[in-house]
């Protein structure tokens, strides 16, 4: 019997030559979580999911998935599965034949379920991969990943170029699959709004570093948007730039810094706003 896998990263670093892709990443994710890996372009999201999928054999620190060191997870079929939306060498393959190929390797994969999920997203089983656009390949790849049913499924930008409807249907399919068989999901995306109702933990990256990590509500509860006088807001600790307007200004500030009696000027933050503010601050502070 297989269970969802917990993720542990301790002081993980990855370099590409002189470029630091990940730096001092320390994160614990309980088994069964739906984790959103968020951040700007080049924040290190793809590197992080590739590392967890065992695609990067060399890194600093320790990283494990379900107790197996990340560099070794490739030797444990069924432990992790990474969907990147790209299938190098899959010439002439149809989505159905790829589902069958996956079922020959992945111990929990369900090709029937894969075809069903692909159908829900509008893909006929005989559709050749080469006839799909980049957006469609990403979505089809994510559908196949759902049906692989690895203990930890990693989706790298599954919706990067998808339209709103496709994103919504993919999120719905993932929610359905998670409801049937809870397992650990890691979704690297910059379309957090798509997954906001589904994600229960976040890892926010900026320039290869973690700027926030933990349960979504905990991360979100620490910050609010406060309206007020521009100069007063600038004097307070705040994330990102102070939004200056004629009638009133606003800024993302820590809940603890909200002055007494200012609660009528406080607004809760959308995750998109918070991630933007978190990454903007780190970006400016580089």
């Amino acid at each position: 019997m297989t269970t969802a896998a917990a993720l542990t990263l301790q002081d993980v670093g990855v370099r590409w030559g002189r470029t630091i892709a990940l730096d001092d990443i320390t994160v614990d994710v309980p088994a069964g979580s739906v984790v959103g890996v968020l951040g700007r372009a080049s924040a290190g999201r793809t590197t992080l999911v590739r590392l967890l999928a065992g695609r990067l054999p060399r890194y600093r620190g320790t990283a494990s998935v379900g107790g197996v060191e990340a560099s070794q997870v490739g030797d444990h079929p069924g432990l992790t599965y990474l969907s990147t939306g790209r299938w190098p060498g899959a010439t002439g393959a149809s989505v159905a034949s790829m589902a069958r190929d996956l079922a020959r390797v992945q111990p929990h994969a369900d090709p029937v379920r894969a075809i069903e999920l692909l159908g829900r997203l509008g893909f006929a089983p005989g559709t050749a991969l080469r006839h799909l656009s980049g957006a469609e390949q990403s979505i089809a790849s994510a559908c196949l990943a759902l049906a692989v049913r690895a203990r930890c499924t990693l989706l790298d930008e599954p919706d990067a170029v998808a339209d709103t409807s496709q994103r919504a249907r993919l999120a719905e399919a993932l929610a359905d699959e998670h409801g049937r068989q809870p397992r650990t999901w890691v979704i690297a995306t910059d379309h957090i709004a798509t997954w906001e109702g589904l994600v229960d933990r976040v890892i926010v990256l900026s320039a290869g570093r973690v700027v926030a990590a933990g349960p979504l509500e905990e991360v979100r509860a620490g910050w609010v948007r406060l309206d007020g006088d521009f100069d007063a807001l600038v004097a307070m600790p705040h994330l990102g730039p102070v939004d200056r307007r004629d009638d009133h200004s606003s800024a993302v500030v820590p809940v603890a810094a909200v002055p007494p009696g200012a609660h009528r000027r406080v607004h809760s933050l959308g995750l998109d706003d918070l991630v933007t503010a978190l990454t903007d601050t780190h970006w400016e502070g580089r």
Binding site: V34, P57, D75, G92
Partner: protein
């Protein structure tokens, strides 16, 4: 702590043989096209030779089709690794399984293709006779004096040099997968090493039993060495 659910509908992991068969299928490509495409080039070359032979005064003995087959077999190595091995890894096969499958196909496919050529040559000879236009011939020449030398060279290529050559091409491709552009440095080293080894093999052939033993050892070294090096490179490749 979030929910930790048991995954139902899990199957028994497939055995080693089934896993290797699945990896071989994945590396070979849809309908095994990465294995049989050289035969298409071989048939085309044979057809061209046959058309050319139809207008000739005397019966030609043409080895161009066999040559094309050997060449395509070598060209097929990058296809097996760049496309097939990466596809198999994407499906989730372990690196060890993919390496074994891709190495087996790298080494065996050109010989399998050559076996098809030999069968074809045999059928051709029985159909048109030894004096007929033989376009699938191996190791023969149009001049009687050159036939012996050409036969020796062809069989030497297939029995001695092809396997180390395939191993070195394989190591080259894996080096490129592992080190990207810097892999060309490894390629250069491999080419130099290959040239030295080939020359050493030629030199040792005249030294009697000791020379023969040395030649066999060198042959094994330049076949097994690139395979072992390929494994270490493939294991560390960021694929």
């Amino acid at each position: 702590m979030s929910t930790t659910g048991a995954l139902t509908e899990s199957r028994r992991p497939p055995g080693r043989v089934r896993t290797l068969a699945a990896a071989l299928a994945a590396v070979s490509g849809r309908a095994g096209w990465r294995l049989w495409w050289p035969l298409v080039a071989w048939l085309v070359a044979a057809a061209v030779a046959r058309i050319g032979a139809a207008g000739a005064d005397r019966s030609p003995l043409d080895t161009s089709a066999a040559g094309v087959l050997v060449l395509c077999g070598v060209i097929g190595v990058p296809l097996l690794w760049w496309g097939g091995a990466r596809y198999a890894l994407t499906l989730g096969h372990t690196r060890g399984t993919v390496f074994v499958a891709a190495t087996l196909l790298t080494m065996a496919a050109p010989y399998g293709q050559h076996a098809v050529n030999l069968v074809g040559a045999s059928i051709e000879r029985s159909l048109v006779g030894p004096q007929g236009p033989l376009v699938l011939a191996v190791g023969t020449s149009s001049s009687p004096a050159g036939q012996g030398a050409a036969a020796t060279a062809s069989w030497a290529l297939l029995s001695i040099y092809l396997l180390p050559l395939l191993a070195c091409v394989m190591a080259t491709v894996v080096a490129l997968l592992r080190w990207n552009r810097r892999g060309w440095m490894v390629v250069l080293l491999i080419v130099v090493a290959l040239a030295v080894i080939v020359m050493a093999l030629r030199g040792l052939s005249g030294l009697g039993a000791v020379g023969e033993a040395g030649a066999v050892a060198l042959w094994a070294l330049c076949t097994v060495g690139p395979v072992v090096a390929s494994w270490f490179a493939f294991r560390g490749a960021e694929l």
